[in-house]
């Protein structure tokens, strides 16, 4: 427990606190008056209002589109289910920069819709909302669908026999059982969309600004640290409230439900209604998820003189404009190296935290549990910038060190590791360890013989998620990655920020490569996954 606490204190609390202090304390005096002042500026209010309503709208839209999907995955049995499940999860593990890029390729200037019908949605709120649905579809399908698949259908049958109509049985039996998990999924989606950075940055242009992009703009462009600090505090409080609510719903979800093996409840679709629903979900997946990914790939090959590998070839040569000091292809190696180190850190820290949380209970520990989730919702920009100003002097002079990037990335990986490992570790029956001890196994041997084999799968899944989110981390990395070794998402964002067909094409090509890396690691994970031991994601 001490190690994770120290890790979070040093690499999360300290940088964030330093930034806030720098912004709010002038000449040794706390300027709390700045809160009211900043929060009454109309443009800031606009930002807050937009952040809130776009997050709510994104969450609502995601639930609307993804809940039927959750039902289909939970209750229908069809060929290629595993593959389809992997496909809908690809966006979630994709770097948000790529999500933005994919939608830019679909609805942006010179995008597919622009070419076909002259429709452009970038710089409209619709692009942002749809991209958020794309990104969070999997959260709903996995959280709600995972539970739904294990709900005993005989409960509903019992209600039917007692005289409830099909709809009424669903509403009175299934819905209440699902409600906590729907709420939990909605809160996660809300959190992700409220703190969404890269998507809004790329698709929103200068028209739309959320809390997160505003913090970035205030910090980097205007260097108004006071405003940034106030906004960070606002975000911090809001996220804290959301997490507290989330923790409550998660605990409620642990109420006893009748569970069955997922295979038992799944049937082939029957009747016109079910087939229509099935087709509708497939269509929405095709339009919403496969199409953007497909367009991204297509654009990476579409050069001015027909399809070719030009953009990919250009990645191998040093950048003529001098923005990048190394061939762009090297960014893949950088990204992978950073992500591997970040994954290891996240596994060690998250594993220790999960082990500590399993063994102990109590308010303090539960508080720590919630605290671990904070980095998911608190501005990565603040964390990244905080790293720069706090970790630049002995004993932690890490500013010039490559380890800074994986440290920041591990911060967002840890919550995933904890969330994945915790349910599995909690499910290991203490008496199995006792049985091993009575048979002559020392405590360490008992852990190796009993716990490890049971959590190995979860450990791999956790590693996969940590790897994917580390690979895609953008908000903090953009600050601290050194110019001679940028990561892939940073490179893509820079390319998109510059004019010219070659830059655009190269961004698409890089994104495609990253997407393939993510998809392959995900497919490997999917093979390991069973719904029973998978935790919350």
């Amino acid at each position: 427990m001490a190690v994770p606490v120290a890790f979070f204190a040093l690499f999360f609390a300290w940088p964030v606190a330093s930034i806030v202090e720098r912004g709010l304390r002038v000449d040794g005096v706390w300027q709390f008056g700045r809160f009211g002042e900043t929060l009454s500026r109309p443009e800031i209010l606009d930002v807050l209002w937009f952040t809130l309503w776009q997050a709510l709208a994104s969450t609502g839209l995601t639930l609307l589109i993804a809940l039927p999907g959750a039902y289909v995955f939970a209750r229908f049995d069809f060929r290629g289910k595993g593959l389809l499940r992997a496909v809908v999860t690809v966006p979630f593990v994709m770097p948000t920069v790529m999500v933005g890029t994919a939608f830019l390729a679909l609805v942006g200037r010179g995008g597919l819709l622009d070419e076909l019908w002259g429709v452009r949605l970038d710089t409209t709120v619709w692009a942002i909302l749809i991209a958020h649905v794309f990104f969070n579809y999997a959260v709903v399908v996995r959280t709600v669908g995972g539970l739904w698949a294990q709900l005993d259908p005989r409960q509903e049958e019992a209600a039917r026999v007692l005289g409830a109509s099909r709809w009424k049985a669903w509403r009175t039996v299934t819905l209440p059982a699902l409600a906590p998990s729907v709420a939990a999924a909605a809160l996660m989606v809300f959190l992700f969309t409220a703190s969404s950075f890269a998507v809004v940055q790329i698709l929103g242009g200068s028209t739309y600004s959320t809390l997160e992009t505003e913090i970035y703009r205030q910090t980097v462009v205007r260097f108004d640290l006071t405003t940034a600090a106030v906004l960070t505090m606002v975000q911090f409080v809001a996220v804290g409230v959301v997490l507290a609510v989330h923790a409550r719903t998660v605990r409620r979800r642990e109420t006893a439900l009748r569970m069955v093996a997922p295979e038992e409840a799944a049937r082939r679709p029957r009747g016109i209604g079910q087939w229509a629903l099935f087709a509708g979900v497939l269509l929405s997946v095709a339009l919403l998820i496969v199409l953007p990914l497909g367009v991204l790939v297509e654009r990476s090959f579409a050069t001015s003189h027909g399809y070719g590998l030009d953009y990919y070839r250009a990645l191998q040569t040093p950048d003529p404009s001098g923005t990048f000091l190394v061939p762009l292809l090297d960014t893949i190696g950088n990204s992978l190296r950073y992500a591997v180190v970040a994954t290891l850190i996240a596994l060690v820290i998250g594993g220790l935290a999960a082990a500590a949380l399993t063994r102990r209970a109590g308010r303090l520990v539960r508080g720590f549990d919630a605290l671990l989730m904070l980095p998911l919702g608190v501005s990565a920009v603040t964390v990244g910038f905080g790293f720069l100003i706090t970790l630049d002097e002995p004993p932690f002079d890490l500013r010039a060190s490559w380890i800074l990037v994986p440290l920041a990335q591990a911060l967002v990986g840890v919550p995933f590791v904890v969330r994945t490992m915790l349910p599995v570790l909690r499910a290991v029956d203490e008496r199995l360890r006792e049985a091993a001890a009575v048979l002559g196994a020392s405590p360490w041997r008992a852990w190796r013989e009993v716990d490890l084999p049971l959590v190995r799968r979860a450990l791999l899944i956790a590693a996969g998620f940590a790897f994917a989110v580390s690979l895609g981390e953008f908000g903090a990395t953009v600050f601290i990655a050194r110019p001679d070794s940028p990561t892939l998402p940073v490179a893509v964002a820079r390319l998109l920020g510059r004019p010219g067909e070659l830059n655009y094409g190269q961004a698409m090509a890089l994104s495609t490569i990253l997407m393939v890396v993510c998809a392959v690691s995900l497919l490997l994970l999917e093979r390991l996954r069973t719904d029973r031991t998978s935790g919350e994601f």
Binding site: A437, V438, L439, A441
Partner: protein, 340 residues
């Protein structure tokens, strides 16, 4: 072999084990019988070292076990719900304890085969434990506990989760098996049938204390207190004043065996000791239940609690019949003080 000396375990204010003393001799099978919450499982866990003592000590083979960790005590424990390792097959489960002791592969395989033969599952080494029935799991758990040749084998509700028929068959098999192997056994159960069939000696527990200890026949014939009597399923308990070989009760005069303690007492009349006669105060037959070779008749007196009588089928009267009652002294027990 095993000596428990004044063992005390407290959960908060409550003493789950309250200064318990118990000795188990080599090759003896001792069954601890008690309702749930009486502290019997805690006693096993304390002997295994899974539960720290708040007072007293546990000796195995004469050596104090304080400070000896669980895995060095050399005892076997069969858990209530078996706790087979789900990720290992049957052979892997049975061999676990041998592996922990560093036994060679050949020795492990040999011993596993031997034990699976012994518990009646020959050739099951490669089967998955998830595919086993409840009875088979129980056998594997037993084989796993026996494999390292523990000096003391402890069983926690060994047959608790099995259905009645299987339980009755297995308990006989277990007794024969332990007799053949010379195993020292300490078992706990809440099922009196199981305890009586298995044990050389019975220990009845209540609220963390030992209420009675003795051979099954002793305990059955002379329950020490109303608690033990009721726990064994006897309901014919009534207040009595014992003087000169006769007890005065609301049921009338009841003869008691010679040498019974005198004074204000509780009295047990075993249902077999009730006979129907023509004269005397009138009892009404409230119900009649057939139990195979005999019938149990519930008799309602003019006042006082109902009385159960065990009668041969031919003699059992109709419901609603009016009869007189007589008691046989050898089926009457004057109970000891009930406060534990």
């Amino acid at each position: 072999m095993l000596s428990i000396e004044d063992a005390t375990v407290r959960f908060g204010e409550r003493a789950v084990l309250d200064a318990v003393r118990l000795d188990v001799a080599e090759h003896e099978i001792v069954c601890v019988l008690g309702p749930s919450g009486s502290g019997k499982s805690t006693m096993l866990r304390a002997v295994a070292g899974l539960q720290a003592l708040d007072g007293g000590r546990v000796l195995l083979g004469g050596a104090d076990q304080a400070g000896v960790p669980v895995h060095r005590r050399g005892v076997g424990l069969m858990f209530q719900d078996h706790q087979l390792f789900p990720q290992r097959d049957v052979g892997g489960n049975v061999a676990f304890g041998l592996r922990m002791r560093g036994a060679g592969k050949a020795e492990q395989a040999e011993r596993v085969r031997e034990l699976l033969d012994l518990v009646g599952l020959p050739g099951a080494e490669r089967r998955s434990v998830a595919a086993l029935s409840g009875g088979e799991q129980q056998r594997v758990a037993l084989a796993r506990a026996l494999a390292p040749r523990p000096r003391l084998l402890m069983l926690d509700e060994p047959l608790g989760q099995l259905d009645r028929g299987l339980r009755e068959r297995l308990v006989v098999e277990l007794r024969q098996l332990f007799g053949r192997l010379g195993t020292t056994v300490l078992a706990v159960t809440h099922d009196q049938g199981e305890a009586f069939a298995l044990a050389d000696r019975l220990v009845v527990m209540r609220d963390g204390r030992i209420a009675q200890s003795g051979t099954p026949v002793d305990v059955w014939r002379r329950p020490a207190s109303e608690f033990v009597a009721r726990f064994l399923g006897f309901d014919n308990v009534v207040a009595a004043r014992v003087t000169g070989g006769v007890a005065q009760t609301v049921w009338g005069k009841v003869p008691v065996p010679d040498g019974s303690p005198e004074g204000e007492r509780r009295l047990l009349v075993r249902p077999g000791g009730v006979r129907l006669v023509a004269e005397g105060p009138v009892w009404t037959v409230e119900s009649r239940t057939f139990r195979g070779s005999h019938a149990v008749v519930r008799l309602r007196p003019a006042e006082g609690p109902a009385l159960e009588a065990e009668l041969p089928l031919r003699e059992a009267p109709e419901e609603g019949a009016r009869v007189g009652v007589e008691f046989r002294a050898e089926d009457v027990v004057v109970l000891g003080d009930d406060t534990p």
